[in-house]
Amino acid sequence: MRILIVEDDREAASYIRKGLRESGHVADHAGDGEEGLEMARAAEYDILVVDRMMPRMDGLTMIETLRNDDDRTPVLILSALGEVDDRVEGLKAGGDDYLVKPYAFAELLARVEALARRRDPETVRTKLVVGDLEMDLLARTVIRGDEEILLQPREFRLLEFLMKHSGQVVTRTMLLEKVWDYHFDPQTNVIDVHISRLRSKIDKPFPRALLHTVRGAGYRLQA
């Protein structure tokens, strides 16, 4: 993927750039909003990673300008401002996801890859399939092999999210945000507990595991 990082902190930018390159992506860097706008207009990027507070032109203005030009490139906003209002503001300006500083690189990578997936022309899918695991979004049923698996509503949503992002790393914070809509980190390992419950339903009775733990990052559902 080709990714543009718009960030005034050069050290942070080169850290992100290095990480993205190591994960097999092409990453360019712009030092402020104006430069970022210019570069985003000049070349085709798959994803923009935009810092919120920058000199000359701040991130939100840059995103708004792009959206007014009908540029729909997915944007991940990076910000030290993490309250709900700040997020709402960022998403209103046209951001697609919001990551609060400080963050682990794995978190950033997971979110960038999740955004790239969103770009695929999203046909209204009624069925999700990963290996021999099938989810029917209309009937709200899950089948693995020939066995129907009974899930609680929240477990269903958790699995739905994992299946929609199958093959990608999904972090605990992403799950808390997207499945539970919580923007704080509980001290206890609530997500791990819920994942292990889900795992005992979808993986345990079967010879091959689909739900993998990615150390230091999160989880990945993969056939």
């Binding site: 993490g82 309250e83 709900v84 209002d85 709402v88 400080p102 682990a104 609680q152 929240r154 539970w180 809509d181 919580y182 923007h183 704080f184 980190d185 509980p186 001290q187 206890t188 390992n189 609530v190 507990v193 819920h194 292990s196 419950r197 230091g216």
Partner: protein, 475 residues
């Protein structure tokens, strides 16, 4: 005194008093001047009327007997002095014929022939010349046919003196009013300034670091007393904030030192673990989780200050607290089960309160985290939501852990306070401060009490933590 007086002259109180004194002096001057003008005018009109009557009498004489008759009349009147009027009859040649003046007044008469002038009072025969001789008179010069000219006047010296004295009195009274006003202004503003100075002294002491000073009160409830009260309240708040800030600063330094030292040691260890890649990786991973813990503390501090600054009040809206309780029950039930704890929830639906879902969830999650953390395996955690006796929405979490001793219950919501028995468990010491701050934003109340009692497992009384929030009035 020399530096003091100008200070007084600059005070608002002095300027206000001076202004009102000046207004008072001006208005008394205007009123008295009006009285003066009115009485002086009346006096002149009366004199003119008297003179007119006498002129009329003389005219009658003239019509009856000509100049001679007038001459005789004047001579009769003025002989022996002491006449009520002043007369002067002058021949067309300018020669004086009769009268008690030395000649016609040389003042230019006005259109009606009226003159006011100073004359030398004729000696009255047989009187001592003790009185002032130059006196003021007022009268009228009448042109008679055939060139004779007649002056009839009246002595107005006493009236004029009276009016003059009145005028001087008015001037003096106005000056006195002004002087009294200024003196009063100085007096009042001195008092005012002295009281203000006391408050200013306190402000100066506070500025130079003595936060214990308080402005004096006289408990009269006047403006200055009210100012002192507000000022003192503000100082109380500032002192409390400063105290908390200092305490927080100390605590931050103190509490961060431990994880930072630990992290430093781990990094040091990683450097020395040459060769053993796996061990190094593990050490580095632990260092990263130390960093995460530190960042968690910083995030908590940030959230706290944002909550306390009131910025988080924007996303407050009506909600059913049961939704929050049910979501968290569902989130924590498996966690409890994993830890070997029983979990139960009793949730009453159908209430409406105003709140921020995210924040209240965070507070409740914090309380549940603590319950899970401190309750030994085999215990139980219960989450309840009900409308309590006061008609408020009450979330409560009860556990069967060691509980918190009575004397520590108010202390645990302060920042960085960690009770001795919890120091070994992970945590920032900010969790309950955050809970308290979130509850404050929602005008709620936080209470800590005893749990179900010792009987459950014999290990402790347990803890009951409850948050009460006011309901929307119409629900």
């Amino acid at each position: 005194m020399q530096t003091r007086l100008p200070a007084i002259l600059r005070t608002t109180a002095f300027r206000q008093t001076l202004l009102s004194a000046a207004l008072f002096a001006l208005s008394s001057f205007v009123i008295l001047a009006f009285v003066y003008a009115a009485s002086a005018g009346m006096m002149l009109r009366r004199a003119d009327a008297v003179v007119n009557d006498e002129v009329a009498t003389l005219s009658e004489r003239f019509d009856a007997g000509g100049i001679r008759a007038i001459n005789r009349y004047i001579l009769q009147r003025t002989v022996g002095g002491g006449a009520d009027y002043l007369y002067m009859l002058v021949h067309p040649t300018g020669r004086s014929l009769s009268g008690n003046l030395s000649g016609l007044p040389d003042t230019q008469p006005d259109d009606e022939g009226r003159v006011q002038f100073t004359y030398r009072r004729p000696r009255v025969v047989g009187t001592e010349d003790t009185e002032k001789d130059d006196r003021t008179a007022r009268g009228r010069i009448v042109e008679l046919p055939s060139g004779y000219r007649l002056f009839v006047g009246i002595d107005v010296d006493e009236e004029r003196t009276l009016v003059d004295r009145m005028f001087n009195t008015i001037l003096a009274a106005s000056a006195l009013a002004l002087a009294l006003g200024v003196a009063g202004g100085i007096f009042i503003s001195r008092r005012f300034v002295r009281r203000l100075d006391l408050i200013n002294d306190v402000a100066r002491s506070v500025r130079s670091g003595d936060l214990k000073q308080r402005a004096p009160r006289n408990n009269t409830g006047d403006e200055l007393d009210e100012l002192s009260e507000n000022f003192n309240d503000m100082l109380d708040r500032v002192e409390a904030l400063m105290h908390r800030m200092r305490q927080t600063g100390d605590s931050i330094a103190h509490d961060l030192r431990t994880p930072l030292t630990r992290m430093r040691n781990r990094l040091d260890e990683a450097l020395r673990e040459d060769g053993d890649l796996e061990a190094r990786e593990q050490t580095l991973e632990r260092a990263i989780s130390d960093t995460d813990e530190l960042l968690g503390i910083f995030n908590a501090i940030l959230s706290l200050s944002r909550l306390e600054s009131g910025e988080s009040r924007k996303s407050i809206q009506p909600l059913d607290p049961a939704d929050i309780a049910e979501d968290l029950a569902e989130l924590y039930e498996p966690v409890c089960e994993d830890e070997g704890l029983g979990f139960d929830s009793e949730i009453e639906r159908g209430m409406t309160m105003r709140g921020d879902r995210g924040l209240i969830s965070q507070a409740l999650a914090n309380i549940l985290d603590n319950a899970v953390k401190y309750t030994p395996a085999g215990g139980a955690v219960t989450l309840r939501l009900r409308k309590n006796g006061e008609g408020r929405a009450e979330f409560s979490v009860t556990d069967t852990g060691p509980g918190i001793p009575d004397q520590d219950r108010t202390r645990v919501t302060q920042r960085f306070v960690r009770l001795d028995n919890s120091r070994t468990l992970p945590g920032s010491g900010l969790g309950l401060s955050l809970v308290q701050a979130i509850i404050d934003v929602h005008h709620g109340r936080f209470e800590l009490g005893e749990g179900p009692g010792v009987s459950v497992d014999g290990r402790g009384p347990g803890l009951r933590a409850s948050m009460c929030f006011p309901l929307k009035p119409d629900s």
